[in-house]
């Protein structure tokens, strides 16, 4: 059989890989063994892959630290405490169960006071002394205005046909 065995196409490679990993069912594995026995390319491939597999198996991980769980729970605990710092602050008070209703009532009362204060209409601001308008009469302007009125009166007399000219 030629060295470029079709078994080495992606689907065949998957089968060969499964065979080397011993993850094939018995029927498929024995059918593949028949092919491998007759195919030099697959023999080379499976031999080399099995060697890699064995080499990789030699790499065993180190045992997990004995206090791994304890460390996780300690971190969880510190996170919980960090998140509820106000709870930690109030813990001595909260422990006294008799104070809980009083604390709730106090908080409710505080909320009512704040709400009342926010609803209260604000008084209309009174004008400051600087803002009051002071009307002052300018004599020149008054005199000019009287002249204008007089001139207008004369003009209206001129415009009327029944009125004789002065």
């Amino acid at each position: 059989m030629a060295m470029d065995c079709p078994m080495r196409a992606p689907d065949g490679m998957e089968l060969l890989l499964g065979y080397c990993a011993r993850r094939l069912d018995l029927e498929t594995a024995s059918a593949l063994e028949g092919h491998i026995a007759a195919c030099p390319a697959c023999q080379v491939w499976t031999k080399s892959q099995s060697q890699v597999w064995t080499a990789l198996e030699a790499w065993e991980p180190a045992p997990v630290s004995a206090d791994f769980d304890r460390q996780i729970y300690a971190r969880l605990q510190s996170e919980r405490e960090g998140r509820g710092w106000w709870r930690t602050l109030l813990r001595p008070w909260l422990r006294l169960s008799g104070l809980r209703p009083a604390l709730s009532l106090g908080l409710a009362g505080l909320l009512v006071v704040v709400a009342f204060w926010m609803q209260k209409p604000k008084a209309t601001p009174s004008p400051t002394p600087n803002q009051t308008q002071t009307e002052t009469l300018d004599p020149d302007r008054l005199e000019k205005a009287l002249d204008d009125v007089d001139m207008l009166r004369q003009l209206s007399l001129v415009g009327t046909p029944d009125t004789p000219l002065r």
Binding site: E14, S48, Q49, V52, W53, W59, P61, I72, R75
Partner: protein, 200 residues
């Protein structure tokens, strides 16, 4: 506890016990975290260890992964397999660490390494010191070959070889198609065959 949560729990419980535990955790049963941790602690740490090749860092990242699971409990929806979600978080943390370590390594210079020396992994020093040294050298070859893979190839190989995760789930963890995962794996194993051929 809302009825909907109970219905979800009942529906998922038949499919996946982990999802049931997560839904219980979501509903306020903090004790459900312990079995999740017990079941997945070792696989997650081992995955992270092989990704970052440093036990202390792997455990720190694993702690962060589990903390993120715990923190996300209220928004958890059993839409995917729990382990897919967990390994996605772990992978994300590992990739971030590797990226940061690369930057750190560039600042430190080529002589210094962030990975473990591997000396702590002495399983059985009984045979002979020569044999132990030989094993260590072979182990370092394997670790070096894995390290030389791209981060995605490395993750795919570790999930496939060591965690025995199926192609479809690896695809969901890596966020790519199943055919892309197969392609990644074939290329990665090809590289490993070439690099480790002399160990035969």
């Amino acid at each position: 506890m809302p009825n909907r949560v109970f219905k979800d729990m009942a529906a998922v419980a038949a499919i996946e016990p982990d999802a049931e535990l997560m839904l219980r955790l979501k509903a306020g049963d903090s004790a459900s975290f312990a079995p999740l941790l017990a079941r997945h602690r070792a696989p997650v740490i081992h995955f992270l260890y092989r990704m970052v090749q440093n036990q202390a860092v792997a455990e720190e990242l694993a702690q962060e992964a589990f903390l993120r699971v715990y923190r996300a409990r209220e928004s958890y929806e059993p839409t995917a397999k729990f382990t897919t979600w967990l390994f996605r978080i772990a992978l994300h943390l590992a990739l971030n660490h590797l990226r940061d370590a690369r930057g750190e390594g560039a600042r430190q210079g080529p002589g210094e390494r962030l990975e473990d020396s591997g000396e702590r992994e002495m399983p059985d020093p009984a045979p002979t010191i020569e044999q132990w040294l030989l094993d260590q050298a072979r182990l370092e070859e394997v670790r070096g070959a894995i390290r030389a893979l791209s981060e995605k190839q490395r993750a795919a190989v570790i999930l496939h070889k060591y965690q025995e995760v199926e192609y479809s789930q690896i695809a969901r963890i890596l966020g790519c198609s199943e055919s892309a995962v197969k392609s990644l794996l074939f290329r990665a194993y090809e590289t490993l065959r070439l690099r480790l051929a002399h160990m035969a």
